[in-house]
Assembly symmetry: C2
Homo-oligomer: 115 residues x 2
Amino acid sequence: MHLSSLAKAKKTKPDMEGAKNIYKQIPISKTDGTPAYSFRVFTIEPGGHTPHHTHPFEHLNYIIEGHGMVKAQDAEYEIKKGDFAMILPNEPHQYRNTSESKPLIMICAVPKEYE
Amino acid sequence: MHLSSLAKAKKTKPDMEGAKNIYKQIPISKTDGTPAYSFRVFTIEPGGHTPHHTHPFEHLNYIIEGHGMVKAQDAEYEIKKGDFAMILPNEPHQYRNTSESKPLIMICAVPKEYE
């Protein structure tokens, strides 16, 4: 049994090329003994975005707060609080906050090998 | 890329011995092509609970709304909106809604072999 809260999880600013105004928390990871999967949380401030990139593992997302866009392959999709998204391995993708005032906060779950 | 929303995901009442006033949604599962992990959402109405049971796979939880208790091994822990919990494989557990008026809504992620 492992418990953590978003309010108390350490917040860091990831050093990733192409990222703007994003913060990361890691409530469940391999260091907590997770068997297979980890939960990170990204906060994307207004005007911010993740890199437009690709990698060999998937993302499972849940939008906790706010709204924005996710670009995947050649299309863009609106995402908002209460939405789930799955990005497949090797699928190019980028998340952007399209609000002028509110953060976009989302769970981004990945295999534990990557977090 | 797969998108779904909690508001539109089909809601069913699971037929599980020991469960009371719970509803299930499955926004991301093996039928959507998830590589390794699935996201279910349980809504536990006031007075409701999941079975007190055990199984050979883990749960990764995020509390979307409400508050309640999770029993794991011999202890009980308070859980509320914004909390994350990890139940390890073969760890006895039960979730209960302790509110008299509000639902407890949580993500319950599991390996895709189980959903």
